[in-house]
Amino acid sequence: MAADAASDVVCAVRDLVKTYPAVRGRRGAPALPETRATDGVCLDVRRGEIFGLLGPNGAGKSTLVRQLTGLMRPDSGSVTLLGHDLVRHPERAARLLAYLGQESTALDELTVALAAETTGRLRGLGVRPARAERDAVLEELGLTAIAGRPLKKLSGGQRRLACFAAALVGERPVLVLDEPTTGMDPVARRAVWAAVDRRRAQHGATVLLVTHNVIEAETVLDRVAVIDQGRVIACDSPAGLKARVSGEVRLELVWRTAPPLEVPEVAALAPAAAGAGRRWVLRLASDEARAAVAAVTGGPAFAALDDFTLATPSLEDVYLALGGRTSKGLVKS
């Protein structure tokens, strides 16, 4: 069983370390201390799964992904992708995976069609196959109508979708997507996940996804590694992670104006409340939460209450429960 699981590992990362040197302060740029952006990361990504890296901005997700795609050399540790040592042979990454980075500057001035076709050609396709795949991918993602427009002239979400299309031309067994749905509307997002699922079903494609979107992580990922300050602080399925905090529920209170601290029950909740101003977020055991809801909806506090929600924990709660330092960079939409 263990051997089976191991043989199905597409990407194995062991003890990966990357440290950015300290930066001296300059005019207009403050000095930065030495930063350990990747701090002893170990991961196993299995064949055919959508594996996520979740963490707030600055957690080290993109740095980690750059090392997995051969764009950056780690200081130490190993990355094995489909049996190839990417630390020794970073150039092989381009022949094994397709990468969608956060930047589109290389494609910005091209039309959608030419961006997709050129990328396919540079992935080694001949002219005809590149054009055929271009047409198929643009059709699949609903981009045919805007195929003749330059990326620069498109909205952020459309541009992102066009870059995603370029990443799909020239089939690869592994897709590495760095925040692919940023700025997209729900229709475009659905197109992205449908395209990913199709490649998974038809070719057994493996997807490594970077995201700071909690809702997206919960809905599309098979397994997720939670990253904080360059370290993997947990790695499991979203449901498995949430089970770790299953005893807790999340209570959100929104006050009309200032919180009515003169009510003793409210004052008692105040130390446990996170959040700002009128909005309080509390993580409580379920019986405590029930008591708190009774208190704020029954007594004089109710007059000051604008809205409240009671919910089972999300990955954001998991992140905080695991000792994540800040949830500010995590997005729920």
Binding site: V9, G70, R73, L81, A93, A94, G101, E103, E109, G124
Partner: protein, 256 residues
């Protein structure tokens, strides 16, 4: 973990098809965004020739001015704009796109350089024809531009790409491109007869000089074709060298 056979590597993109794809993409970019700049480059050279018309009165000086102004268009686009392009691409992370595709570095650099250089041809031709009319020079030798533009273009584009890729910051890439263009302007357009020795040496170091010289020689009644060939040969060698440096710089910039 080692129980699986290593995954199949997709084929690498071959040099020439990849070069053609980059060239085509870059040329389409140029059509969208660089045409106004080509006008600027051409008008700049035409303006310089009109200015020099008041000072220079035929002879070798007129030949140097027309040849220098024509090659200046190449310097403006191939050196200055390409340095800016690669500087911007590197600073914004756009190089990641190419670095994660199995494409030979030379294809990216040569494709971009060739697109920029060939894009300068119409501007160079307009400038040269205008200069010939202005100074009364024969136009029979203008065909040499078909050799001068690619060769000087290769040398200058390689230089521009290398500057853009090696500059630690985007602003420095822009600055280096501008300075290189200024050097091509001062050292290429002004007739060398009036320059002090030090400046003449600097002029000899600039790759565009040989393109200018080769072009200027063809205006004489009986051109010295051996000298023209030698000048173009120097241009070509410098072109190969500077493109090799640019390719090395690309490799260095792509994997940090």
């Amino acid at each position: 973990m080692n129980t699986t056979a290593a995954g199949v590597l997709a084929p690498q993109a071959r040099l020439l098809p990849a070069l053609a794809a980059v060239y085509r993409a870059q040329l389409s970019r140029a059509r969208v965004s660089r045409i106004p700049l080509l006008f600027v480059a051409t008008f700049q050279s035409v303006g310089i020739m009109i200015l020099m018309r008041g000072v220079v009165d035929g002879g070798s000086e007129a030949r140097a001015v027309v040849a220098g102004s024509s090659v200046l268009v190449v310097a403006f686009v191939a050196l200055n704009l390409l340095a800016q392009y690669f500087g911007q691409l590197r600073a914004s992370g756009g190089l990641d796109h190419y670095a994660t595709l199995p494409v030979p570095p030379a294809s990216v650099v040569l494709g971009a350089a060739a697109a920029y250089a060939s894009f300068t041809l119409p501007g160079t031709l307009v400038t040269a024809v205008f200069g010939c009319l202005l100074f009364g020079l024969p136009m029979g030798g203008l065909w040499i531009l078909a050799a001068v533009v690619p060769l000087a273009g290769a040398a200058l584009a390689g230089l521009g790409a290398a500057l853009g890729l090696l500059a630690p910051r985007q602003e420095l890439a822009t600055l280096a491109g501008q300075l290189g263009m200024s050097a091509a302007l001062l050292l290429g357009v002004l007739p060398p007869e009036r320059m002090p020795d030090v400046i003449v040496w600097a002029r000899d170091l600039l790759p565009s000089t040989y393109g200018v010289e080769a072009f200027a020689r063809t205006f004489t009644p009986h051109p010295d074709w051996a000298a023209v060939g030698l000048d173009l040969g120097v241009c070509g060698v410098v072109g190969v060298l500077s493109l090799a440096v640019a390719t090395w710089a690309y490799r260095r910039a792509a994997v940090r």
